[in-house]
C-alpha cells in the first residue's frame, strides 16, 4: 500500500520559499527611485545654476535686452527681432535637449537658442550576459508597456502659454529664481525649467529661462529597472533551479528510503536491511540507520513469533501427555462408577486441545516444507478432479460446482501440497457458505498462469481485513461455543502453499455482493 505523493512535496515547498527572492526587485525599485530623485534634484540644481550664470552674464548688458527701437513689433516676438549678440551668447550655452531663452520685462522674447529635441538615444543597452540578454529580449514587450520610453520630439516653438501663463516667469520678473516642471506636450515625459531674473541695478529687466527635458533620467531609470528585472529573473530562476535540484535529490532519497522501508518486510514477514542512505552522513543517513535498527528488532520479533507456534506446541505437548496418560490410566483401572462421564468430557477437552496443537504444528511443519520441499511437475486439473469427488461425499449435502479447462494444467510443485491447499480452501468456503447455492470451484488457464477460484454464497469479507486474511493466526470467524477451534491458520496454509508454487493469493467479494471469492494464481510450467 503505497501512500500517494504528499499534496505539498518538498520540492514545491522549496520553490515556494524561493519566491522570497522576489523581494529583490522591490528593494531594487526603491533604490532606483531614490537614485532618480537624486538625479532630478541634481539636474534641477544644475539648471538653476546655469540660469543664474546666464542671468549674471546678462545683468550688466541691459542693451541686449533692449532691441533697437522701431524694429520690434508689439506682441509678436520673433527670433528675427532678437539681437544678434544675445543670440550668440545663448547659442554658446545651448546644447541638444537644453533650450535657453530670454525675455524682457514685458514678456517679450528677446532671444532663444537650443531645442528640446532629446539627445541621441543612449548607446546600446549595457552589456548583459547571454542569459540576461535572452531574458531582456523576451521581456522587451513587457518593458515597453511598463516604461514608456520618452522619445518625444521636443517642442520646436516655445508655447505661448509658457511665456504668458507661466507663473515662474512672473516670479522671475518679480525677482525670484524659480524652477518648475511641466508636462511635455502630448503627455510624454516632463520638462524641467529654471528661470532666473536678470537684474539691472535695482530693477528686473528680464528673465532667463532654461528648459531641459528629463528624458535622460527617465530612460536611465527605465534601463535600471529593466536590468533589475532581468537580473532578478535570472537570479530567481538560477536559485529556483538549484533549489529544485537539491529538493529533487532530497525527496528522491527520502522516497527511496520510504520504498525500501515499505518493502523491507516481505509477505512472509522476512526483513531485509535498508540500503538507501546507509552510508550518508546526514540526517537521512541517520534516519535510514535507525530504520534499520528498528527493522532488525522487528525481524527478531518476527522470528520469535514464527517459532512461537512451534515452540508452544512443543511445550504444551508434555503437560498434555501428563493429562492424557493420567486419564488413560484412570480408564484402564476401570475408574469409579459415573466417572466415565467426566472421563469423556476430559477427553473431549483434550481432543480439542490436541487439535489446536496439531494445527499449530501443521503450519510450522508446512513453513519448513515450503522452505525445503522439492518440486516436481503435476497436473492441477487431475488433482482437483480427484479431490472434488471426495469433497462431494465428505461435505454432503453441500453441493459443488466444478469448472475445469479441457486440457491439463501443468504446475511445478507438489500435488500433495496442492491438494492440502484445496482442502483448506474448500473447508473455508463450506464453513462460510450459506443458502443452497453450490460452492463454486473453477480452474482456468490464462497465459502463463493457472487461476484457481473458490467462491461461495455468504457473508462478505470484513472491511480492512482483506490484506490480512492470509496471515498467520488471523481469523474473522465468530466463535460459537463447542465449535471447532479456529486459529486462523487455514488460509495461512493456503498462502504458504501458493507461495511454494510461486503463486499468490487474493480474497475479494463477489462482484454482485452475494458472497466471497478466493483466488490463487499460480505460474504454469
Amino acid at each position: 500500500m503505497r501512500a500517494a505523493l504528499p499534496a505539498l512535496g518538498l520540492r514545491s515547498k522549496l520553490v515556494l520559499i524561493a519566491l522570497v527572492l522576489l523581494v529583490m526587485p522591490w528593494a531594487g525599485y526603491a533604490y532606483v527611485r531614490a537614485m532618480e530623485q537624486l538625479l532630478r534634484e541634481n539636474q534641477e540644481q544644475q539648471l538653476a545654476a546655469t540660469a543664474r550664470t546666464v542671468a549674471v552674464a546678462l545683468q550688466d548688458r541691459p542693451r541686449l535686452l533692449t532691441p533697437p527701437a522701431g524694429t520690434a513689433t508689439e506682441g509678436e516676438p520673433t527670433a528675427a527681432t532678437v539681437h544678434d549678440e544675445a543670440k550668440t551668447l545663448l547659442a554658446g550655452l545651448a546644447r541638444p535637449g537644453l533650450r535657453i531663452w530670454v525675455i524682457d520685462s514685458k514678456l517679450k522674447l528677446v532671444a532663444a537658442a537650443g531645442s528640446l529635441d532629446a539627445p541621441a538615444p543612449p548607446g546600446a543597452p549595457p552589456v548583459f550576459g547571454p542569459i540576461e540578454r535572452a531574458v531582456h529580449f523576451a521581456l522587451r514587450p513587457l518593458f515597453e508597456r511598463m516604461f514608456r520610453t520618452p522619445a518625444a520630439p521636443g517642442e520646436e516653438l516655445i508655447p505661448d502659454d509658457v511665456i504668458f501663463g507661466g507663473r515662474e516667469l512672473e516670479r522671475a520678473l518679480d525677482g525670484a529664481p524659480t524652477t518648475r516642471r511641466r508636462p511635455a506636450p502630448g503627455g510624454r515625459g516632463t520638462i524641467l525649467s529654471a528661470s532666473h531674473p536678470v537684474w539691472s541695478g535695482e530693477s528686473v529687466i528680464g528673465a532667463v529661462v532654461l528648459e531641459e527635458d528629463t528624458d535622460a533620467i527617465v530612460s536611465l531609470r527605465n534601463r535600471a529597472f529593466e536590468q533589475l528585472v532581468a537580473v532578478t529573473l535570472v537570479a530567481f530562476s538560477a536559485a529556483a533551479l538549484v533549489l529544485l535540484a537539491f529538493a529533487s535529490r532530497l525527496s528522491w532519497r527520502l522516497r527511496r528510503l520510504r520504498d525500501e522501508a515499505e518493502n523491507a518486510i516481505d509477505s512472509r514477514g522476512h526483513v531485509r536491511a535498508l540500503l538507501a542512505g546507509e552510508h550518508a552522513r546526514d540526517e537521512i543517513g541517520d534516519l535510514s540507520r535507525s530504520f534499520s535498527t528498528v527493522l532488525a528488532r522487528l525481524a527478531d520479533h518476527n522470528a520469535y513469533l514464527e517459532a512461537l507456534a512451534a515452540r508452544l506446541a512443543h511445550e504444551l505437548r508434555t503437560p498434555i501427555a501428563v493429562v492424557r496418560s493420567s486419564l488413560d490410566n484412570l480408564r484402564l483401572q476401570g475408574g469409579t462408577p459415573g466417572g466415565a462421564t467426566y472421563l469423556g468430557r476430559a477427553d473431549d477437552g483434550l481432543q480439542r486441545l490436541e487439535k489446536i496443537l496439531t494445527r499449530m504444528s501443521e503450519a510450522s511443519r508446512l513453513e519448513q516444507l515450503v522452505r525445503e520441499g522439492e518440486r516436481e511437475p503435476f497436473d492441477a486439473r487431475a488433482v482437483i478432479e480427484s479431490c472434488a469427488a471426495g469433497y462431494s461425499s465428505a461435505y454432503a449435502p453441500r453441493r459443488f460446482k466444478l469448472t475445469l479447462p479441457d486440457a491439463a494444467v501443468p504446475l511445478n510443485g507438489s500435488a500433495d501440497l496442492f491438494a492440502q491447499m484445496l482442502d483448506k480452501l474448500i473447508a473455508n468456503a463450506v464453513d462460510f457458505a450459506t443458502g443452497d447455492d453450490p460452492v463454486e470451484l473453477t480452474l482456468e488457464r490464462e497465459p502463463g498462469a493457472a487461476v484457481l477460484r473458490m467462491s461461495n454464497h455468504g457473508p462478505l469479507l470484513p472491511a480492512g481485513m482483506k490484506e490480512r486474511l492470509f496471515d498467520s493466526l488471523v481469523s474473522v470467524r465468530r466463535h460459537a461455543p463447542g465449535d471447532e477451534p479456529h486459529l486462523g491458520l487455514g488460509l495461512y496454509v493456503v498462502r504458504l502453499i501458493a507461495e511454494f508454487h510461486g503463486g499468490r493469493t487474493n480474497a475479494m467479494d463477489r462482484a454482485d455482493g452475494s458472497g466471497v471469492e478466493f483466488e490463487v494464481r499460480l505460474p504454469l510450467v
Binding site: 512451534a310 506446541a313 512443543h314 511445550e315 505437548r317 508434555t318 498434555i320 501427555a321 501428563v322 492424557r324 496418560s325 493420567s326 488413560d328 490410566n329 484402564l332 483401572q333 490436541e354 496443537l357 496439531t358 494445527r359 504444528s361 501443521e362 511443519r365 508446512l366 519448513q368 516444507l369 488433482v383 482437483i384 480427484s386 479431490c387 472434488a388 469427488a389 471426495g390 469433497y391 465428505a394 500435488a415 500433495d416 496442492f418 491438494a419 492440502q420 484445496l422 482442502d423
Partner: protein, 231 residues
C-alpha cells in the same frame, strides 16, 4: 519371567503414568530420569524394550545418544522414541539411529501399549520361529503378520511399526481407498495430515530402494491412499 521395559523420561508425571500403565499390563518396568542413570543400569542389565524421550534434562539430544549406545549393545532390542518433538527432521533422525518406532507424546496409552506388545511379539518371533505362519500375500508383496516384516518381490523392506501397519492397512484390500483417519487408526497414531503424507512418502521411498519401479501406493487426492492392484 516378565518382560522388562525401560522408560527414560525426564518428566516425572509422565514417567510415573507410563510406569503404572506398563505394570498394570504385567510388564516389569525400570524408569530413569536421565541418560547417565539409564546407561549405568543398562550396563548391568539390558531391558527387553526401551521407551526413550529425546530431550533429557539438560541434554536436548540425550535420547539419540542413548539409542545409539543401546543399539551398539544389541541389534534386536526394540526401541521406541516417545517425544514432544514432531518435526520430520527429528523423526528421520530418530529412525536413522535405529529406533523401531517414533511416536509423539500425544499418543494414547492404549495405542502405546499396542505398539509395545507388537514390538515384543516381533522380537519374540525373531527368537523363536512360530509354529504357524501368518502371511498376507498380494502378488509381489508379502506381509508377515507375526514377524511384522514386509517383503517386496521377495526382498525385505525395512519398515517401522507405524509404516508396517499402514502398508498392511492399504494392502489388505487392494484398490480400496483408505483415508488419513483410517490409516491413523490402523497405525495406532494420532497425527496431522501432513505427517501421514510424510509417512507415505517414506514408505514409497523404502519400497523404491528395493524396486526403483515401485508405484503401487496411489494418492487419491481429497480422499486418501490405496494399494494399486497388479495390472
Amino acid at each position: 519371567m516378565p518382560l522388562r521395559i525401560a522408560i527414560v523420561e525426564d518428566e516425572p508425571a509422565i514417567r510415573a503414568n507410563y510406569t503404572d500403565a506398563f505394570r498394570a499390563q504385567g510388564y516389569e518396568v525400570a524408569a530413569f530420569a536421565g541418560r547417565a542413570e539409564a546407561l549405568a543400569a543398562f550396563r548391568v542389565r539390558l531391558p527387553d524394550l526401551a521407551v526413550l524421550d529425546i530431550g533429557l534434562g539438560d541434554e536436548p539430544d540425550g535420547g539419540f545418544a542413548l539409542c545409539r549406545e543401546l543399539r551398539a549393545s544389541s541389534q534386536s532390542l526394540p526401541i521406541i522414541f516417545l517425544t514432544a518433538r514432531d518435526s520430520d527432521f527429528d523423526t528421520v533422525a530418530g529412525l536413522r539411529m535405529g529406533a523401531d518406532d517414533y511416536v509423539t507424546k500425544n499418543v494414547s496409552l492404549p495405542h502405546l501399549l499396542a505398539r509395545v506388545s507388537a514390538l515384543f511379539r516381533r522380537a519374540e518371533v525373531a527368537r523363536v520361529p512360530p509354529q504357524s505362519e501368518d502371511v498376507l500375500v498380494r502378488e509381489n508383496l508379502s506381509i508377515d503378520l507375526k514377524r511384522f516384516t514386509v517383503a517386496w518381490r521377495s526382498r525385505p523392506v525395512e519398515l517401522t511399526l507405524t509404516e508396517f501397519w499402514m502398508v498392511h492397512a492399504l494392502a489388505k484390500f487392494p484398490g480400496h481407498v483408505k483415508n488419513r483417519e483410517q490409516l491413523m487408526g490402523e497405525a495406532h497414531v494420532v497425527v496431522d495430515d501432513s505427517t501421514i503424507t510424510s509417512h507415505i512418502k517414506r514408505i514409497r521411498r523404502k519400497f523404491a530402494a528395493v524396486d526403483p519401479g515401485f508405484d503401487r501406493i496411489d494418492t487419491v487426492y481429497g480422499m486418501g491412499y490405496r494399494w494399486k492392484a497388479d495390472g
